[in-house]
């Protein structure tokens, strides 16, 4: 196998950019939602939980199509964002990031939620008796103790985002340099007669990235356990 070509590099770097932005933007929402699901009881909680998990079970092409209807130029939200804020998603890398963010969201939220649920609430009570307001309790006790889980969620979300294919290609198509990620590049290459070698190289890159992310997530989970035991 020869070296990675510049077209392949473009796809790899675009994938990284899309996945990093998707993960960073999704993280605050993920933490807020994880906290809500772990710590609050409210009407419609199980419905919200189901909606968050929907991208995991829905055919990705359906999610992509729904994104197109909502965030496309003529979509309800997409039209508004384009006209008033100048943010365009359709056929742009930002749209790829949105699709990846939505698709990876359930995987991102889950470890965050589990790590918040695992925190001893009596520690939060102790913080309260020491004069910490609810937001201070969150930032000085809950979040630091949940940090390994938050990082594990980010890593898993990132790994999922980098491999996302169906929703992305449905929503923003497969434009080299703009929306062609590693996955859609592989898809194009295996349909070209002599694309096998290039596809193979990208397949190896995908495996390395996914494996690295899983190992990192595992490492963060182990850190979480050590942290909760006060070592």
């Amino acid at each position: 196998m020869s070296e990675i070509s510049s077209a392949e590099w473009t796809a790899i770097l675009l994938s990284l950019r899309v996945a990093i932005i998707a993960t960073l933007v999704a993280t605050p929402f993920g933490i807020a939602l994880a906290w809500l699901l772990a710590r609050r009881d409210f009407w419609g909680k199980s419905l919200l939980d189901a909606v968050v998990h929907l991208p995991l079970v829905l055919p990705p092409v359906v999610t992509g199509y729904l994104l197109l209807l909502t965030f496309g130029r003529r979509g309800l939200v997409g039209g508004f964002l384009a006209d008033y804020l100048g943010i365009v998603f359709s056929f742009r890398w930002t749209g790829a990031a949105l699709a990846c963010g939505v698709m990876s969201f359930p995987l991102l939220v889950r470890p965050m939620r589990l790590s918040i649920e695992a925190i001893d609430r009596r520690l939060e009570q102790a913080a309260e008796t020491l004069g910490a307001a609810p937001w201070q309790v969150f930032f000085t006790v809950t979040l630091p103790l949940a940090l390994p889980g938050v990082l594990a969620g980010m890593v898993l979300g990132f790994a999922k985002a980098i491999g996302e294919f169906g929703a992305t290609i449905t929503f923003v198509s497969n434009i080299p340099g703009e929306t062609q990620t590693i996955s859609s590049a592989i898809y194009s290459l295996i349909q070209t007669p002599d694309g096998d070698a290039a596809a193979g190289r990208l397949v190896i890159v995908s495996i390395v990235l996914a494996l690295g992310a899983l190992i990192a997530a595992e490492w963060f989970a182990r850190r979480a356990t050590a942290r909760l035991h006060g070592n």
């Binding site: 001893d120 009596r122 520690l123 009570q125 102790a126 913080a127 309260e128 008796t129 020491l130 004069g131 910490a132 307001a133 609810p134 201070q136 309790v137 000085t140 006790v141 630091p144 103790l145 942290r227 909760l228 035991h229 006060g230 070592n231």
Partner: protein
């Protein structure tokens, strides 16, 4: 100093307790299940009474009729739990400093040194809670509560999780604390011997009701 008149229904258990005390060391005595912890949690603001009033140091912190409920974090109380509850992600020094930081109080190195010496925890400052013995953890928890400058200290069976030897190790610190720290305290225990050494007034609790109130004599 402390005036309590509260009712609380907790499942099958009903708590209806009333007492007022100017004592510097109030001993709350009763068997397990008598409602001691629920009562202390109400004084702390962690549990809300169904009906009644709680007045700490002249300030009404609970008055259900007037709709008053001051949240725990605004009550300026110190609470030492049976299970220390030190923050595992912070070392001892950071645990001790936590209350001061949350209340945005200026650093008070004199008081800090005094309490660290009083509790003999100077050698532990760099350690994580996971590396402390049960007795050491409880001493740090005491220091942490005191350094938040509370107007009332609540101690809920602080020796309950310790074996006999460790109890004897901590007891002198508690006596010194009562005499030197200048903070009134409510000391919860089911151990009459412990209370005889520490309390100046006793509130006896039985099945959610105050059955007697007075000097340490009521324990006999």
């Amino acid at each position: 100093m402390l005036r309590v008149d509260v009712e609380k229904q907790l499942g099958e258990f009903s708590l209806h307790a009333s007492f007022a005390s100017e004592g510097r060391a109030i001993g709350l005595f009763g068997a397990s299940g008598a409602g001691k912890t629920s009562l202390v949690n109400m004084i702390a603001g962690l549990l809300r009474p169904d009906r009644g009033t709680i007045v700490i140091d002249g300030e009404t912190v609970d008055d259900t009729a007037a709709g008053i409920h001051v949240p725990a974090w605004r009550r300026r109380i110190g609470y030492v739990f049976q299970d220390a509850r030190l923050f595992p992600h912070l070392n001892v020094a950071q645990n001790l400093d936590y209350g001061r930081r949350m209340n945005r109080l200026p650093a008070d190195p004199v008081q800090h040194r005094r309490i660290v010496e009083l509790l003999d925890i100077g050698a532990l400052l760099d350690r994580r809670p996971g590396k402390l013995s049960g007795g050491e953890r409880q001493r740090v928890a005491l220091g942490r509560a005191l350094l938040s400058k509370p107007r009332l200290l609540l101690l809920d069976e602080p020796l309950g999780a310790l074996d006999e030897g460790r109890k004897l190790e901590i007891l002198p610190y508690l006596v010194r604390l009562r005499d030197e720290a200048n903070v009134p305290m409510v000391y919860v225990s089911h151990d009459a011997a412990e209370l005889r050494q520490l309390a100046t007034q006793i509130v006896m609790l039985k099945q959610g009701r105050v059955t007697s109130f007075g000097g340490v004599k009521v324990l006999t």
